[in-house]
Symmetry: C2
Subunit: 431 residues, 2 copies
Amino acid sequence: MNRTYIADVKAGERVRISGFVENLRNKKKMAFLVIKDISGKLQVTIEKEPNPELAALVDRLTLDSVVTVEGPVVANEYVKMGGMEMLPDTLKIESIADALPIKDDSEIDSRMDYRWIDLRREQNQLMIKLQTTLVGSMREFLLQRDFVEIHTPKLIGAASESGSEVFEVKYFDGKAYLAQSPQFYKQMAMASGLDRIFETGPVFRAEKSYTNKHATEFTGFDLEFSYCTSCEEVMHMEETLLAYAFEKVAAKHGEDIKRLFGEDKAVIVPTVPFPRIRLADLYAELEARYGYTVPDECKGDLTTDAEHLCAKFAMEKYGSEFLFVTDYDAKERAFYHMRDERGVPMGYDLIWRGCEITTGAIREHRYDVLKKQAEEKGLGNDVSFYLQFFRYGCPPHGGFGLGVDRLTMLFLGLSIKEVQFLFRGPNRLTP
Amino acid sequence: MNRTYIADVKAGERVRISGFVENLRNKKKMAFLVIKDISGKLQVTIEKEPNPELAALVDRLTLDSVVTVEGPVVANEYVKMGGMEMLPDTLKIESIADALPIKDDSEIDSRMDYRWIDLRREQNQLMIKLQTTLVGSMREFLLQRDFVEIHTPKLIGAASESGSEVFEVKYFDGKAYLAQSPQFYKQMAMASGLDRIFETGPVFRAEKSYTNKHATEFTGFDLEFSYCTSCEEVMHMEETLLAYAFEKVAAKHGEDIKRLFGEDKAVIVPTVPFPRIRLADLYAELEARYGYTVPDECKGDLTTDAEHLCAKFAMEKYGSEFLFVTDYDAKERAFYHMRDERGVPMGYDLIWRGCEITTGAIREHRYDVLKKQAEEKGLGNDVSFYLQFFRYGCPPHGGFGLGVDRLTMLFLGLSIKEVQFLFRGPNRLTP
């Protein structure tokens, strides 16, 4: 008999299910087990006297042991969980669990030590499902639009975007570094005529930060496309991509997210276009509305306080969780952003729920201009290999990157440690 | 006017196209350009006298410069390429290319030095499209079967499967290593109750090998699923997955593969089930058919010579490009493969076109047995963190991994250097 997922079990059928023993009440005459699989939970009830073999097996069970049970499922209005229970005639012990070293409310570092047990919680399984749907539907959207997928190397010969915060690797008799982002290589793909590309992959940051949003390794979702010439086109690609993915997430997991994380985490599917505002105008609004005055020396960039205030502002003024902020100061932006005739970078940040989730831009594809902009930032030598990509013909292009972990955090109101399959930080390399 | 992909251009329409100048004949009265984008090529013909502005722009063009042209497309039976040409009335130079440092027939290392130019070749663009379809359809197959996607860390605290051939990373004041495979963590996902998972991601091998199939970094496609108890179930998952993906590749790229790589590279969509044979029986067949005698000390594993002969044997005996080989000697297999009552590992290799593309197996999920098998191989301490995954309840499970690069090589008859976006080897970290 094939295994049935618990979510598909119906009263009146005979089924075989497999899962973890989430709850266990082993009384004198009766035993009540709650079996949990990735899809749901089912009560399994065993009358012990007429089933001595099953009773003997149940006596060996511990919490989180794994079993396969088979038998008829009957309706029972007294069972809270789905109004039904299985009355098994066979039970197989797949694995006996030692006494569990953590509980649901153990402190975060203990839960990290035993992450594989922590991940069994329904909330965490939903989180992984949400990530799957999010990333899967973003890829789907892009494949429908003629994007191809690339796999850029994570081992690189020279420190990438900036010289700092990069991990060094012992590479035979020499050194290599771990890529901090696929930025340079996704632009190389444009020079290669691949036209439109995306990549999902790890990025590495050697930052000794201990905040609830920093990790030394996380999953980036990057894309880049050719023959776009205005920042507006890049923003449009991003807002339609996110609206598409959010709709899939809401349809598939909306109810579960509210049930397990609260009504205030309800997924709001955004409408397109997202609101856009210039940085200077944003600061004027924040001052007028909330009395927030940006320090003069910070006017060219978005301060963390202003970033947080964007949540309130975007909702009040536009009824939106999202806000595109444009017209940053060139001094505050990467050298590879193209600048318009005013000298303003043709790029943006996207803020969601008061947190920056993307930097996007039209890239400078003209070798001479790019070289000059790199030199202005004191990056001449470090990026010389990258500058070569633009010498032999390169389409104009733009793109952006998203952090899969950060998006998940914001969806569910969790910290970075809670959303990574296995968190990596300066003090955390295990399990 | 929006850009049209060249493949969608029809005679009788007015279109705007963008692409690289693949060919350029600038005569006295006429100029003939071949413009190439990701989808195809189009001849662009300019009569110079009546179009002095266009003529002046054409005079600046070089091979592989990037242009956008707009104008009517007319049928012309004398044009070999699609029987049509564009007669542009506007031409915009997006990027001027310096003299190209490589040609199509430059030797491989020069082409690697300028990989972004090399990738413009139609064959290479097809290769990336093929990889996109292959990986995309494998994911699609798994998502339809309730698999979730995980992103396991590539930075790890201890050397993984074996102590050798692992890259060391300077990790703040300590050391980390780069994951050689997601094997241990995808099994952790089983202990986490995630039931069925897949991952696409980089794997790192510190091997100083200079063959045409070794790289220090490549892209792995891994999956693992719970509650399978026979090797047959794992093989069935793999053969149906591959048949599904091959069908998509054949439908989408079959004709282009034959056109650009030759009839002998035609994609053959395999029928399920793939043939299966025990290792000992295979050796008996190879001896009887081809006089191949395996050295006694190699009988427990598949030799490289035998692997190659499998191509001929599988086709002759079964009319199949694929062959599952089972019943290896436990001495030759990883400690984490479950063994049957005979002590034979419940695993297999899958051979395609005479090359091993997968090792798959039912894993040993019983802590005591697994610990003993690890110790037998002298791995007690190295894998102690991994052994913990099996102490607190773990479903039985199995799985396999595929190398995306290797599959691509075999599809197209290329070397590893030719199929990676950017090859990484002991002497190659750039660009």
